[in-house]
Subunit: 516 residues, 2 copies
Amino acid sequence: MPSGAVRQAIRCVSSSLHSTTLRAQTTMAAAMPDPLPVRQKTPLVTEVGKEPPGPAMKTNVPGRESLRLKAELDKIQNTDAVHFFVDYANSRGNYVVDVDGNIMLDVFTQIASLPLGYNHPKLIAKMSNPDNMVTFINRPALGSFPPADLVDKIRGTLMTVAPPGLQHVQTMACGSCSIEHGQKAMFMAYMRRERGGKPPTAEDLETSISGQAPGCPKLSIMSFNGAFHGRGMGALACSHAKWFHKLDFPVPDWPMAPFPKLRYPLEDFVRENEQEEQFCLEQVEDLFETYRQKGAPVVGIMCEPVQAEGGDNHASPAFFQGLQDIAAKNNGYLLLDEVQTGCGVSGKFWAHEHFNLREAPDVVTFAKKMLTGGFYYKQEQKATEAYRIYNTWMGDPSKIMMLEEVLNVVHQNDLVNNAADVGQFLLQGLLDLQKLYPGTMKNARGLGTLVAVDFPTTAFRNSVVITLRNKGVNAGTCGEAAMRLRPSLIFTKSHASVFLTYLEATLKDLIPGRKV
Amino acid sequence: MPSGAVRQAIRCVSSSLHSTTLRAQTTMAAAMPDPLPVRQKTPLVTEVGKEPPGPAMKTNVPGRESLRLKAELDKIQNTDAVHFFVDYANSRGNYVVDVDGNIMLDVFTQIASLPLGYNHPKLIAKMSNPDNMVTFINRPALGSFPPADLVDKIRGTLMTVAPPGLQHVQTMACGSCSIEHGQKAMFMAYMRRERGGKPPTAEDLETSISGQAPGCPKLSIMSFNGAFHGRGMGALACSHAKWFHKLDFPVPDWPMAPFPKLRYPLEDFVRENEQEEQFCLEQVEDLFETYRQKGAPVVGIMCEPVQAEGGDNHASPAFFQGLQDIAAKNNGYLLLDEVQTGCGVSGKFWAHEHFNLREAPDVVTFAKKMLTGGFYYKQEQKATEAYRIYNTWMGDPSKIMMLEEVLNVVHQNDLVNNAADVGQFLLQGLLDLQKLYPGTMKNARGLGTLVAVDFPTTAFRNSVVITLRNKGVNAGTCGEAAMRLRPSLIFTKSHASVFLTYLEATLKDLIPGRKV
């Protein structure tokens, strides 16, 4: 990794930035055609064509027009989570343009949900084909009246990238629904096995109507402290990241296990981290027993390959192997939630492919960059009766159609390997900055472009992200004090260099002692 | 209502149908240019332009190609709920075309989810406008990075048809999510009131992470036997219609009240039905107390204006007025789930507008024909903190864009009044058939085009629907033995006449004594 070069590049640009005022900086940034030493251009740059040369800011963010629109929207709904209003028509590639004309490098990309950045020409071409229009106009009730080309489309998209070992897939409208139905697939498989092949009894069927046992048995799913899986009641029961997700909402009493808190740099804490993971695995094992005794047996474990919302918390392949073994030993299943980690961002198409599991997870959920929600599953989790995994829309073929083009581009431009390379570059850049600014940034970590770094406090992290945005880079947050990077798949090392440059400029702004 | 004319039309066509074999019938049906006496053409007919003159069948349904595709799809997911595969490109207006070339009048329209039938020219025009493309390609994280035109689009669409008295709306991706978030809006409002304006305590925030009280308090929502609200855990906890919705799935213990079982014809059972509704309301009142004592107070009542999935069960305005009063008396809210009953099908834009409620319901959910999911709500249900009602997508602006055109057409063609007229005509036709076939069809009922009729048994109902489909009319089912009609908003009396004609031919086929 060219860490020296990165550092030099960062120094080169940031030295010309840090002594000016914020407004002056951003104006200058706007004028910067290419502030970094020339890097090897990848074919991606031509793909996104008209991408701006760099950030260019006219106002702080949110600017006046964003604030005006926010006040208007607030008459209709709570807008406290609105960051800024976007001019989608003028956003390009990795650059988002807001309604005040600010051009920002976007390393958060709609909460990790834009696979190819903004207005990718291949997606425009796909949309411009009149043959594809029918798919947008006639949304089917997919489970009962599927379109003629559904089998071909699923085979040509979702099945080409299915996690190794999983041959079944069900689309859903969003991530939360994917989770809830993935959970139900596990409950069904578990109870089918419990019944030993016998059909449900009349009492089972009858009691299920009112939601009582035995038809609706007391069962549970284990999840982890720091997890986030979505916003329906079943998804929330497995989410333990932030108070505002669940406060005031009743959820069932399901087991919450500790997720490993790894210490960084990993190479300095090998033994401690092994012990930490071992401790967590023991808790997982204990919780199976605890909830068996409580009369709410655990049918499966649900886990993110990287806990995103909870703070970009990673664990080792050994930990996930352990989860799979403990689940199996307890007749439970393993659901890996790849809503945020799938679609190539980890440097493999699915993050769990890094874990060398002895067999596929039983269920793998997806959404975000996949454009459609859904979940892969094993034969054992396949429904054996009609209308068990079902709703009116069950996804949207127009999203599968767009996914088809996304996967073409991913394949043609080798974007999964790009994510591995760029992620490594990005992480090394953060590690370098960490050394330059000890006590300010720590725990830089990543898997592909799923990269994050911690700051000393929540307040400082927030200042970093706001200052960075006002300079022209839109990043995300997660956990208590982490900055989360979720760039698109067309993010290159050039973009990464811009990010690192602006981040260092931000740090210099915020650390008084380092301002000269 | 021209019930005599309908009857005559039905007799005229069906007499030429009933003596031939099924295959011969369908071939003949295909050749029928317009089997009915000419009716006044509405402007709608020109709108849908190329709509076929009538059903035209080549095979039974599902035909060979549907069966082949079903077998292929079954390798990927359970397909027991698949009726047939659709050739969406060749479907037009109220006519769905399957992959075997069968042309069917569609009175179910993708489980009530197509507002303007298939390939409506105005929607094609909307899609063909290159300016609209950007909305399809760049799906935002709507709660944080909304598009520049979001406020205008919501004002120009959802707010123009907001239920009287409701000034707030939140879009969601699907019906289930709309329900779950609508429930959460009630839980939040309830607990905010319980806290008496004080902020949540540190203990509230902390315990919410693990899902324990007091942060996640034991609260409940009351729903009705026969209800169906969706497939997430919170929605399922309020659904009590069919065993396959909930069997094997744990759900919280929430109160289920009886829904009135009205006797028909209503005019003959005025007193009995009043008593029945009074009984149900008393149970509702009691359940508030029961669950207060159980330590899981009811924050609100959730109800469909017409129970659809559960059997098209209607109740009187007085019943819904009673629900609202009892809810208020018990400090609870009222959520009306208009996912299936909204968007004009009832003859008013929202079915609850028939109920003369003394004030607006607190929450009104929608999806299906509205193209986007979502819910309207009062100021009291508006979140007061960021990220409470939130997820990555929170709906999809491309659906709002299509809704804009749908509402234009609804307005220009007076489709809400059309639903009232056509619904009345359809219902009268069923009432007439009921008289002609006593003991075979009963309880014809309707509100706008939300029309249904019961058959003596589940098996007979199924035979009717299958035979009818093989003749060229695709209808739905619900409850134990009901046929459910959910035509599009561009369904005219001409289409209704075709339906009635084919239904009578079906009845004649299935009642041996009436075959000559």
